[in-house]
Subunit: 515 residues, 2 copies
């Protein structure tokens, strides 16, 4: 067994059994090891941003890390934007970065760069493997790191000679304990006191608190105390729809967020902090709560929300209270012109039970996502990092994680172009992904932001840097080029039909929504 | 005038009059400033790797830096791979990175990251602008840095408030002096002595020494002394073809490079070092020269090769010697099957005088590029950094720099997919670029490298990570999707005809070469 084989064996032994890869010459032994280990699934991506985004999507649905294989510093660099997004979503990930042998590095060959330097700003843990006999230990440590709560970005640099030299048997560190910390009793009692006050309170849920037992218990707390449940505008994954505990979304735009938050005397945070504006604007504040609103940190990012809410329910004497659940809202199939409302209604009517929505719609979709609250139960995934090009890769990884569930990926045309290579992997792996391109031929969100920034109305030359209508992207040709069947729609009923049609056969589909 | 306007005005005052951009919310004032300054040309790119690669292509042809506008840390990250390639090619570049206002950063908003940390590993100079009143000074410094010899990567971080606050008049640092250092007389005399010895000598030319007066004078030295002129396998830009001083190319593969270098007693380096293997292999050396070959550093990277060769000619008493020039080789239009030889012959027959070849062909094209030595005079540009996805962006920038010259970009299918968004900018700007896709449906170079690495013959599972034939990319659909006319060819004569046809009309074209 060589170092590469030892690494791959350790990954699968520790539960990391998928690798999103774009290999190069320095990773040939790793490729051989991937190919030689039937327990490891290798997924080829035609750009590293697809690989790291897919690993993020995998984690969002599985709560366990995937691995990536990237080619030296530049390969890592290409994956960094979606590593940033994954980090902000608290997704764990094990990145393996191929590297020259130490003996070769001193000659500064063309692909040489400071890999640690590139990795550190966006990784929680970086290590350069020193020998094939200790690579298994390093790998187990990387998996432990990535598997922590919250998930961590672990980056392991693999020199060529470490890869190809023989590895012996090595002792491994114990697997990271699954148990999570709970808040102190004093903190729980403080929050109970706030909630008992009856003063208007918003409980902001994030990360693992927006699903499963934690969400259900948060619903009981809300029902017992009259507190409202909210989320930041973007959340890693929300279980929502009919029968789930509903969560209100704090608006994106600063004035609307301020208006929403104004009425609350208290904000209680769960695995998150108080609401912060996405960008800085000349005449708008960074913190969006009203003056006088008190912020109470209930569950820290590394603590267990389900346990915390159980403690809180006991402190409140409300363990028997039933949560209020979202009612099913049957949305009629809309017809006529496509606009944010009809688009959202079509989505609400079409979403099948148990589907996953990876949302990277900006102008068209995201503001009206509330209209799908009463749809059949589904999971909603957002981008917490703000770097566009996250949607189609995350949808790719989510579909691999959940092969029995259809993934819908509504995405703006500008964002989709960033990592459009995802379509090829979706076709290759026959993934159940319906990509919905909102083709407004513009970075339309920027037109609003131009005014929000106080830059006035964009002139023709500034507009030409925002509009992407010259040439218009032919999305059906784009889909065809990578083996994905596509259809274009220009009415709400056609959009609804295309979504329903896309679920009838396995495999990917693309819908161009002509706005 | 606000900070953004001051920055843009300083760029154009200092000769940087093009900006390859993909803006976001934090760059709205910069966008307004770009739009408001008629001396600045703004070019929209749909992915940052296109922007940085295009800036590299601009520099290769102009010898002056372009600017890029990138959106915070992730936007910079997306551009890093082609910044790496540009750095290795000694291309100067001014990157402007939009950033949150300082007052907003402390809340760690979603797009926050350590921009300096991401920039430093691949920049020569990094600065965070502190105030709108000093941004002009910072900008002038950035341009000075980028304009040095060799070209430097200068990265200027622009916080939002620095962008939108008012700027006064500022004194500026003087422009960087154009004069370059020359080697010492003692060094020149030493090299003259080596050359006078009559022992077999290879003079390796790089960067600015492979064109213009430096190349012509190197040709005189070779004619006077019998030394041979060589280049590394990859060079920033070579003026070549009929009537130019010919340069031999050191092979890429280690055994072939060793065989080529074996006969030389001396290696004289000009703006480069001795030949180093691109990768480390288990049973191959890093340094490729023969034992006993002496390496003499003649011109350092920051010195002036033209002046150095003039001094050397005087020391040799050879100022009147004429160089041996490449003869015109008229290549018959090939016919029949496409293979590396017929492809190269078709290229040699088709290249029009004064065209630019940006070569990112790997398996199909690069090994036979020597067959175009006797074509009509042209410029050849290579990737020195080894990160794939450099070709189509660099071709985009080169075409903008030289609107009267046709750019040919032979590129492997795997490489083209990395930054395929370049096609859109080529269509938008109606650039004279002929993209030639060598569609072998594989990262074919890796099949050879798998064996070179001693990993044996790839099995089916490893092969599936090297072949990209499932699905096959439909290149005509891909071209159409972004508004570029395409044609597919499956014979040498059809390939030749398609190249010639592409030169008849202005604007981009794509040729799929079906291998």
């Amino acid at each position: 067994m060589n170092g590469a084989e030892s690494l791959v064996a350790t990954l699968v032994d520790r539960g990391v059994d998928i690798c999103f890869a774009n290999p190069g010459t320095s990773e040939m032994h790793f490729l051989a090891a991937l190919g030689g280990n039937p327990r490891m699934r290798s997924v080829l991506c035609l750009f590293e941003g697809v690989a790291t985004g897919a690993a993020d999507g995998w984690y969002r649905m599985k709560d366990t890390p995937a691995s990536t294989l990237l080619h030296l510093g530049p390969g890592l660099a290409n994956g960094l934007a979606n590593i940033h997004n994954a980090k902000r979503a608290s997704s764990g990930m094990v990145n393996i970065i191929g590297e020259h042998s130490a003996s070769h590095l001193k000659y500064d060959p063309p692909l040489n760069s400071d890999i640690e330097g590139l990795a550190r700003p966006l990784s929680h843990w970086v290590r350069r493997a020193q020998s094939s006999s200790t690579i298994a230990w390093d790998t187990a440590q990387a998996v432990n790191q990535a598997s922590a709560h919250p998930g961590q970005i672990a980056t392991l640099i693999l020199p060529g000679d470490t890869s190809w030299q023989q590895a012996g048997e090595t002792a491994l560190p114990p697997a990271a304990p699954a148990a999570r910390k709970a808040p102190s009793a004093a903190r729980v009692e403080h929050i109970a006191k706030v909630l008992r006050s009856g003063e208007p309170t918003l409980v902001i849920l994030a990360n693992k608190a927006t699903r499963g037992a934690a969400l259900e218990r948060a619903g009981r707390v809300a029902a017992a105390t009259g507190a409202r449940l909210g989320s930041q505008f973007f959340t890693a994954r929300i279980e929502r729809g009919a029968g789930r505990v509903p969560i209100e979304r704090i608006p994106y735009a600063v004035p609307q967020a301020q208006a929403f938050l104004k009425g609350f005397r208290h904000i209680v945070t769960v695995e998150t902090g108080e609401p912060v504006a996405f960008f800085s604007y000349p005449d708008k504040p960074s913190l969006m709560k009203a003056e006088g609103t008190q912020v109470h940190r209930f569950v820290e990012a590394d603590e267990d929300s389900a346990a915390a809410f159980e403690m809180l329910l006991e402190a409140l004497g409300a363990t028997k209270t039933a949560p209020k659940l979202q009612e099913r809202v049957r949305t009629a199939v809309p017809s006529g012109a496509l606009n944010p409302t009809s688009v959202a209604h079509a989505l609400a009517a079409a979403l099948p039970e148990g589907c996953i929505v990876v949302d990277e719609s900006l102008t068209t979709g995201r503001e009206s996502m509330g209209l799908t609250m009463g749809a059949l139960p589904h999971d909603l995934i957002n981008n917490l990092g703000g770097s566009i090009g996250y949607g189609t890769p995350v949808a790719t990884g989510a579909a691999l994680a959940c092969p029995d569930r259809r993934v819908f990926c509504p995405v703006g045309d500008g964002s989709a172009m960033y990592t459009i290579q995802s379509l090829w992997t979706q076709a290759r792996e026959n993934l159940n992904v319906t990509t919905i391109i909102f083709a407004n031929n513009s970075y339309a969100i920027l037109k609003a932001e131009y005014a929000n920034m106080g830059a006035g109305t964009p002139g023709a030359r500034a507009l030409s840097m925002i509009d992407i209508d010259r040439p218009r992207i032919d999305w059906l040709a784009m889909a065809k080029s990578m083996g994905v069947p596509g259809v274009a729609v220009d009415s709400a009923e056609a959009f609804h039909k295309a979504m329903v049609d896309s679920t009838r056969e396995p495999g990917p589909a693309l819908i161009e929504v002509r706005l």
